[in-house]
Amino acid sequence: MIDRHHRDIAHQHEQSGPAIEAAAVRHTFGSGDTARQVLVDFNIEVAQGEMVLLMGPSGCGKTTVLTLVGALRSLQSGFIRTLGKDLREADERAMIEVRRRIGFIYQAHNLHQSLTVRENIGMALEVHRPRVFANEADLIDAALDDVGMLGWADAFPATLSGGQKQRVAIARAVVASPSLILADEPTAALDKANGRQVVDLLHDLAKRRGSAILMVTHDSRILDAADRIVEMEDGRIVNVETRQRPSTKSFNQSTVKDRRDQQACEPQQQK
């Protein structure tokens, strides 16, 4: 039944063509003597259902790509189409509409400390009001179940471990079945086991829900999760590596098993 809800939402976000198209994108911070160009003729295309890792040294422009593609920043030069929307002429309202169709995951989970886990995830559905999802509670439960956090639905973020918070943030990002997920270093604050688990979860969820993922990361431990790895340097793409991944089915089976194994080893958190 939950899958049917996911499909219903996905249909509303359905669009043809790549999730992201960017061409000849240039971006400069500052002006005059202090001006610094962080993107130089940047080009990328991310297909629906594809998971792309964006890697490179600090300051090479990875995060700027995310903010531009995510309609969080105005485009200065070049072309970006996100989820079928040309961002060159998008006004504030149009950019907000694009953001609502994207799931964002941050290095710092940025959960509301005053809201429960369930309410935090509900905020990602509430943003679509006055449109109301058919079964918001079921959608939230399904998202929590997907990330293995259903038992913590009424807990506050302060009572969760770092890995658990990040899993809640993932549930928040995917609950409305967005067509695109933009993630910035989602494993940076996590240990190896939790980091791996988060990436596998993301991959698993993205494949099942048909979302494209563009993830900025420095974490070399998760490279095998990607369909494609894009390396950047000084605002330019310097290398693109397409990976041969296991089939979705076998990957999902392995990641779910791993996740269960890790949860079994993890100490139970008090609500």
Partner: protein, 393 residues
């Protein structure tokens, strides 16, 4: 409960309330700040109202529906005079049942046991006058038929404690008034006002002996009672058409009370001082609430930026801050008004001031509290502009 109310009214998660509730110490400080500001405003309004009320308290002794005064009227005792014949003209107006002349003057009373003096307002009335609303005065009027006899206000400020104590024992107590010795033959309770230390009631004949410059042909005020069932406003209007506006001003008792209060508000330091106090209270509350809301917005900037990144509008975030401001106003008002009731009671008991809480005052203060908090919220929302969704990455 607040959760449910906001959810049903706004159809959204009560984020503002949750944020306030999450930081309990900050919430308590904010509510205490709003309550203190409210108490300050209530006390200023209460004391000002009580002081104004003292100016019209003497009028409340009489069963008058309409009062005729000189056009130069300010407050009782400072009202100039009008011709006595206006009483007889007014009695001829349809709807007027009875009337009486009232003489008013202020005199220095000296206690026999002290060299200190008290400024006392003296009312001169016909001993047969049936216009006092207080039985303790009406029952003693016959004592005033004796020359130089007075009824004296037992709540007169010191140094008349000994005089009152002797009069309470049933003795006629001599006091000196403007160089003339008169006897206190009875007591009543009225209370001091801003201008006078107390009050006394004399017969019209005794009054004219104490105030020889006053004329029997003139009156300080004329008190009229209307016929049962008559409309006081309509009767007053009919009297206005009969009496010349050049020497007589016609007001209902309530109009006169409002007039005196407005006069004092606009023309005395009391009005200015207490209005200034109300403004100070407002700005103290504003400053406290602004500090709290501003700190709260600052602390939640990353979360607000995240909401913007998720697609929430700036207007939504303004709504969250205003939700907090509204809740602080509503929740802070409750302890503010409760504490004010207690302080009114304590102040009234300690000063004999008639400090009361008219129904309109809580409405006024609640409106001021809402304005104070929403204004604070409006200023605090300027910080929301710093919540840039691009910064959360």
């Amino acid at each position: 409960m607040i959760d449910r109310i906001i959810r049903s009214l706004a159809n959204r998660t009560p984020l503002g309330w949750r944020q306030l509730r999450h930081s309990k110490s900050r919430l308590i400080v904010a509510l205490a700040g709003v309550a203190v500001a409210d108490v300050l405003i209530f006390m200023q309004l209460g004391i000002m109202g009580a002081l104004f009320e003292t100016a019209v308290t003497p009028l409340r002794m009489f069963k008058a529906d309409i009062v005729l005064l000189s056009p130069e009227v300010r407050e009782l005792g400072q009202s100039g005079t009008l011709p006595r014949r206006r009483l007889y003209q007014a009695l001829g107006v349809e709807g007027v049942a009875s009337g009486s002349v009232l003489q008013i003057g202020a005199a220095s009373f000296r206690s026999p046991s002290s060299i200190r003096q008290a400024n006392v307002m003296v009312f001169g009335v016909d001993p047969d006058f049936d216009g006092f609303s207080r039985p303790e005065i009406a029952s003693q009027l016959s004592k005033l038929r004796v020359a130089d006899a007075l009824l004296f206000d037992r709540l007169t400020r010191q140094p008349f404690g000994a005089v009152v104590a002797r009069a309470e024992g049933g003795h006629a107590v001599p006091v000196e008034v403007t160089g003339r010795t008169v006897s206190i033959v009875g007591l009543f309770s009225l209370g001091a006002s801003v201008a006078n230390d107390g009050s006394a009631i004399a017969s019209d004949q005794t009054f004219l002996r104490l105030f020889p410059r006053n004329s029997a042909a003139a009156a300080s005020a004329i008190l009229l009672k209307i016929s049962p069932g008559a409309d006081v406003e309509a009767v007053a209007e009919r009297i206005r058409r009969v009496l010349p506006a050049s020497d007589t001003r016609v007001m209902t008792t309530e109009q006169y009370a409002d007039y005196v209060k407005e006069f004092m508000q606009d023309n005395t330091p009391i009005g200015f001082i207490f209005t200034f106090g109300v403004i100070v209270g407002f700005f103290i509350g504003f400053a406290i609430v602004y500090q709290i809301l501003s700190a709260d917005v600052n602390d939640h900037l990353p979360e607000y930026a995240t909401l913007k990144a998720m697609g929430y509008t700036h207007r939504y975030l303004l709504g969250v801050v205003f939700e907090e401001a509204f809740l602080l106003a509503a929740l802070g008002f409750v302890p503010g008004i409760l504490l004010s009731f207690v302080l009114y009671w304590m102040l009234g008991a300690g000063t004999e001031l008639a400090i009361a809480m008219p129904a309109s005052r809580p409405v006024l203060v609640l409106a001021m509290t809402l304005a104070m908090c929403l204004f604070s919220g409006a200023v605090a929302t300027r910080r929301l502009k710093a919540a840039d969704p691009a910064d959360v990455f």
